[in-house]
Symmetry: C4
């Protein structure tokens, strides 16, 4: 049944499917859209929608992280982004919002991010979020987790996001003492989200570190160049379904620990959100879609964290665009365009209604069709 | 044999095929085109061609519904469209015919359709069709069926079309008394067409409501955005073949009730019509192709019903185009262009002749080849 | 092994492959290109290359049919084309060579071909070919075969080509006495080529009519619209391999009658020719590629016969283009462009050499790889 | 398991996959990028990166072959290119760098390469490389190997590359005494690289000639027209995996002779390099990517050797482009663009780190996913 292929004698590969390769098949009852709930709970934190922000400076400033929290989702601030390198990055963000797409942009990003991280700024930003009363989540890279953890924890975060392109449960290094995720998480008393990962095995290993949530995918969207640079491309429908199987097996092996899956990549429309959840995700991580909200920090421009890498940048720059509407409108409508970029969670809710499901957990069982057309 | 795929461990999906993925294979005798019949009968109503209009205001006014009926097909007026909201929508239609494709169009559609439905206008429009002597068919949405049924039935329709994007035999609601299709149909003494639906199971359930015809598909064409907004995309060849299997099983379980399948979506050319019937449909629902007939209500513009949804619009606006020819010419030729958009049913007839079939029911057995090229 | 798919319960289709889906795999020795022969013999007629002209007026005039014969291929004149409707069609051809691609072109083609066929002209054209000393082949449609046969045979053709989009061994008609191919061929004492056909069964049936050659395919190229108009699209690699299996089985059932397969469709470059033969064809029918030879009748314009159909035209018009070179150069080089459109049979010869084959019959066994990339 | 398909009854083909159809799946630990080695050893020669230059005059002059050697890769000079036909080809190269892409370019290439090879120049060029102290590799075609070998060997090469589009272990000729690779190689006391080849069988046969390295593929990139001209297209992931199986079997049959696989084709970015090695290659052959280095001989223009063939040219001309950076920068970064064209081997190194591998040989076992999206 599993769609595996022998590329050449002895070289076997699984066939992978993107979210665009699958579609939802309504196959039972229908339901009133008002009877459908999109609420999501991670550990002690309750959200109105299963929406986690991708921690890019293009979308997440302290202000927009707060706004997203107030709107019912989870904002995530990058502890290694512009807000912790500069006292006031607003002029830089304004400059970036004016740039157009060419090679020079990458160089400018590299320059801008070459400024060192200022630990005191990390603390300040976190306190700003904390004071706003929203759930506070901050992203650190695996490499800097040990160095930044003290200041981050001191400042009082609710959720820690340890995120790199690929994060493994076992990092090997001959130089530094590498981060041992399992020990690190065991020592904390707050929930940790880790990732990305791309298949059953890496998802299961990350679950065994004690993480509360695992990020599936590498945040690939149409601006992503991870495939061209690293040869890594993640068919998200398969990656999510794989990780969902790992979640089930881990639930069994632990006698009940449920780890949340947060799909990061391939999600640009409300239809994509519905498909990601239908494949088994608990929530989606939204990057570029949120850059189109009024008030986005970089005026509609978009870039991945890795786009500023000093030696091996990954991810094209998306030039600034006119906002589609307010953040509320992007999340909950009303939409005044029919392309799935507005009313993102209203679209999800309606998809659930048309398939007769009441809540997100049930909806993970929705029928799918494979269609590579 | 069935092409099912395990996306991830335990998550199985069927592989679906679009009409564009299949082609007809002539594999026996050939036949004179004049010996081929395209006639279709639904309940007591006889049609020269298996053609049902998709009830969009862009193509179906009272006048064009009458014209299609006189030309041998079945016109369907939307009881919830502009003609039942406005005494005279012709100025609005003229305005829409002049619009070009941008976000503003969706807003204008939302405004135009925010006007409430006037029940007396529903009756008037139906009487206009009735007086013309054609088979009278009117579309209502599942949500408004109970409210509109009295006035619709009083005015004297021949066929009632209960159509939403997705219609199920069991709608669940905690607020209103939902429509129970089975009871509703049992109480009527006129044939009802219901849909859309997308697979074997939902088709079978709709057949069991007592419907005379079931609509397969969600009316998706190149202007459709149902996939982007809801994650629902219907590979029509598969959906039709699935529903045809349900028709066969229902025929068996009832000892002889034959429910007609009307394919709605993916049908833009005469070749598509032939393929839809070859997959097992009894008739096709034509939307945008009819907007290219001279005298189309919106001057060649095209939009789906859902394109005016107040909170979650679905479906792009197609700007007005020059007509290709008269309605007669579009249906029966002569064509003066070679792209399958004219002489739609002459093309069907010739395809049947080249495969040696005499009538539509026989033609459902035609050989197909899968070709995703 | 056979790649068959259940579209829906009980509806099975074979998967079909185009020539572009396959590629040749050199897998044994290599050979000097000068040691390779591309010669082809059909019945008593010997050709330097396995090249049959598609009988379109755009490429085949009496003069170009003679030129192709002298160059080593087989010219085919359409007995129902412009040369048998007009005393001198050269002004019309000049006019067509100047037209550009739009809907009006179809109308003009319809007008031009509405002129009746003049039987005496048929005889005159054939005598012109005969006097030139080349193998004389003329195409008639199945519908007009009985009417035109006397004058065609009287004038002395060597090979008769009975060709329609789809030709079957059994045509059914309630009006006319239909052509019984088997009786018709049995009564002749010259070899007949018939087609097109699209699969094993129809190929086998046509072989059983006594034909010397069977045309596989419907002449589809990028200007073809048979799929849009009729729903018929022929994956040529599959169709040829199917017909080759029929040839083998017919050889067995007759104890040695070998019927030649002429591939008509999907062949635009030397690489395509190599693939068609590698799939099992004995020769290819070239249409549009020959329109690019200096001296092509319509100055580089291109249209299919069916493009002028009065009610259901099929096939787009390709506007006139600058010739790439002389006919000799197109067939045998030297090429001064690298895209496979020149030195068509030199390319075939080199492909055979790189795979180590000496002659066409051997080359039908070449290894193939499926690649839908 | 092996993905083979019956095109028609009795005609079986393997399904082939391109590098773009596969992606790397990180599935175990991660590793510090500084702990990863990309070093490669062929016979006695050690290289910092598994990079062999494709011997096109567009990228390999004596100067750039030396530069690549100094930078840690293997330069290869074409003994049948411009540098052995002209005393000083620099004016011609300058002229070619100014040409734009049209049919005239092919004619100009044909003219330029019609000049005969001057054996004394072959010797001179080789001595120039030798004096620079880099590993000296020269390419000869199979046809000219016997004629050129004496002068090439006299001049003192380290590695001989016998390369044609398709090279077989057994070339058949009725005219000349063909090259017997096995005897030829046995008589030499230097390592020979031969190819290209496209599948298990031809790779195995070439290994049995005693070659130290086998080239897999025909150097196809987006400028290649081998498919259009010859019908030969090589899905590289499959070809490499096939050849890797042959390498394993040959290792077994010889009790330990390890033949290196050099992938030539489909490799344009660092991601492609990672995929080629992940499929089983030991090194990659880079053509066009090196034309973008500052100081490339033809100023950024690009053509294949076969593009100048006098009768059957193959390969389109790529007009000159601005360099992306120095050769060092292209190979090792820093990159200032995110598209995988710079820091080619830094990208490989990072891909290996993200998958937890230490060296190239280990990395051949990396997990892959098939994704034809």
């Amino acid at each position: 049944m599993r769609d595996s292929v022998e590329i050449g004698p002895g070289k076997v590969a699984q066939r992978g499917y993107h979210l665009s390769d699958v579609a939802i098949v309504p196959s039972r009852r229908t339901r009133d859209v008002d009877d459908v709930s999109t609420s999501w709970q991670l550990d002690a934190y309750q959200f109105q929608i299963p929406c986690v922000a991708h921690p890019s400076d293009a979308t997440m400033s302290p202000a927009t992280a707060i706004a997203l929290g107030r709107a019912g989702g989870l904002g995530v601030l990058n502890a290694e982004g512009l807000w912790t390198r500069y006292e006031d990055p607003s002029k830089l963000l304004a400059e970036l919002s004016e740039l157009s797409e060419d090679a020079q942009v990458t160089r400018r990003l590299q320059e801008v991010y070459s400024e060192p991280i200022v630990p005191t700024l990390v603390g300040e930003r976190i306190r700003e979020l904390r004071e706003a009363g929203v759930t506070v989540a901050v992203r650190v890279s695996p490499q800097h987790t040990l160095a930044l953890a003290p200041v981050v924890l001191d400042a009082g975060v609710d959720l820690l996001v340890v995120q790199g392109t690929i994060v493994s449960a076992e990092h090997v290094s001959t130089n530094d003492e590498p981060l041992n995720l399992k020990e690190f998480i065991a020592d904390l008393d707050l929930p940790v989200i880790v990732g990305g990962c791309t298949n059953y095995q890496t998802a299961l290993h990350l679950m065994r570190t004690g993480a509360a949530g695992v990020i599936v995918g590498v945040g690939a969207d149409e601006w992503s160049t991870t495939d061209r640079v690293l040869g890594i491309r993640v068919p998200m429908a398969t990656a999510i379904a794989d990780a969902a199987a790992a979640r089930r097996d881990y639930l069994d092996e632990t006698g009940g620990r449920y780890v949340h899956l947060i799909a990061d990549g391939d999600v640009e429309t409300s239809g994509d959100i519905a498909k990601a959840l239908g494949c088994g995700a608990d929530a989606v991580m939204l990057g570029e879609p949120l850059s189109l909200a009024a008030g986005a920090p970089a005026g509609g421009a978009w870039w991945h964290s890795a786009a500023s890498h000093p030696k091996l940048p990954r991810g094209a720059f998306g030039a600034g665009e006119e906002p589609l509407g307010s953040l509320e409108q992007l999340l909950y409508g009303p939409a005044d365009r029919p392309d799935g970029t507005m009313n993102l969670f209203g679209g999800l809710r309606r998809a659930m209604a048309k398939c007769g499901y009441r809540d997100l957990k049930e909806f993970q069982k929705v029928g799918l069709v494979i269609d590579e057309g």
